[in-house]
Symmetry: C2
Subunit: 279 residues, 2 copies
């Protein structure tokens, strides 16, 4: 993939698109040969509407089966394109499992990935072997035993802060795994679902699903709370069998600084990437 | 359809099943030739598990495309059947868009339809031409203009009480249209969806969707509030063009009296049906 320049080229306009998708029938965000991916569907639709080849930059590269209610991308499109009905036209072309929720002309310094301050994910669990109601079946994961909300929150709090999350990520060559976990809290909603709110500056590959698995292990009594910190310190990746499924995970929101701070933020992100390896 | 006797036959046990379904790919509850219906799928699965022919009685016969999170049925099954794993087995057989949420042996006087005190429906609308997020796409209806929640509640309150709802039902030969509308209220949830809570002793065919259409007409200023009462009084059915779509409607709950009052309630329902025509 060729990384676009930080600014749009001359004659181009930068657009921010807010997207939502049901990830069930997608092989994730990123393009792959012979797979249905969100990136390919969205870029194809943008290509049709703008009659140009469009490359997008995404805030959070979601895995196969992961959903989004607040994904953000930017694209550079030729100036002079009629922006009036572009959102409406895109939604006419796209299948109903992916929608353009909003579209706007962004400052030239806006970079969906590098300008982002933090990402918010939601993880939903239905515990105690309860049956998932069909209208919720696409974005909830099951757990067979009852989970205590206090125990979940106590275990989650142990992971907050700046850490090398290598033990809780799938390995990727040359990629840093140092992250700042800013929030990791659970509530039980009125219908009995456990809703996890997970916020970090950025996430490594498979990180939320690893963290959820670790917290459930502790809340469930399989490991003591000290196991969380020991695993972090040892940097030995936890067993795949503990990782929670993609279907429970939704990218909910991406935060950006004010327009005047966009460039500064992007510069810092790029500098950190160069110091630590690719984020 | 042959109506079963009020009590189970000798050698049979009465079961109450609580069901939930995504109505999107069903032609409603009631069996029809060459159509996929919830009744047929559930009765077939029950037939496999009990190795008997099973006829079910349902609390609310939902139309094509209407969902349920709290549908109730009763069935009579041969005594001596192993009830331990019947719910689990049914959910293994059924497709994932219909689930048995709970199963229990009910008093012999329990009748899913005639014992019911009232039915609760939810109607969801996203207004102001907003794009429906894909994970919500199956149970929400769209409206192109913004709707004021106060105006919705004011118009809805005009329909409360005992009325002949002929103007707000699809006509059915010999069926009474006298109903008691006990609750009709709207709230806007944290995600901006309008959630209508509609409760009545029972509903006529297509009644909730007619009522929602009427209320939106008034909230929207198309007709004045007096139109609601005039239409009720005139008993001339409102235009099909005003009726809201099935996809926004979910049967949420059915209320029953305590066990000792089941038979009394069923007797009253049957007596009222005979006086007023089939409900």
């Amino acid at each position: 993939m060729t990384e676009p320049t930080l600014y749009p080229e001359s004659g181009f306009l930068r657009l921010r698109l807010d997207l939502a998708y049901d990830g069930t029938n997608f092989s994730g965000w990123g393009k792959q040969p012979d797979r249905r991916t969100v990136q390919e569907e969205v870029e194809k639709a943008l290509g049709t509407v703008t009659q140009s080849k469009i490359d997008s930059i995404v805030a959070g590269r979601t895995d196969a089966g992961v959903h989004a209610s607040g994904q953000v991308i930017h694209v550079d499109v030729p100036e002079g394109i009629n922006l009036e009905e572009i959102g409406y036209k895109l939604n006419r072309i796209l299948d109903t499992d992916v929608r353009v929720m909003n579209i706007s002309v962004s400052p030239v310094a806006f970079h969906a990935r590098f300008s982002a301050l933090r990402r918010h994910y939601t993880y939903k669990i239905l515990d105690a072997n309860q049956v998932i109601s069909p209208l919720h079946r696409f974005d909830v994961a099951s757990w067979y035993r009852p989970l205590d909300i206090e125990a979940m929150n106590t275990a989650s709090a142990l992971l907050l802060g700046d850490h090398d999350f290598a033990a809780y990520c799938k390995f990727r060559e040359g990629a840093t795994t140092i992250r700042q976990l800013q929030k990791f809290e659970w509530v039980r909603d009125s219908e009995g679902y456990l809703i996890g709110d997970v916020v970090a500056d950025a996430f490594c590959y498979s990180m939320v699903r690893n963290l959820v698995g670790a917290v459930v292990c502790v809340a469930d009594g399989r490991f003591g709370p000290e196991w969380i910190a020991e695993t972090l310190a040892n940097k030995v990746r936890i067993s795949d069998s503990l990782v929670f499924p993609a279907c429970g995970l939704t990218l909910r929101q991406v935060d950006y600084p004010s327009d005047s701070e966009l460039l500064d933020r992007a510069a810092k992100t790029v500098a950190r990437r160069e110091a630590q390896g690719d984020e």
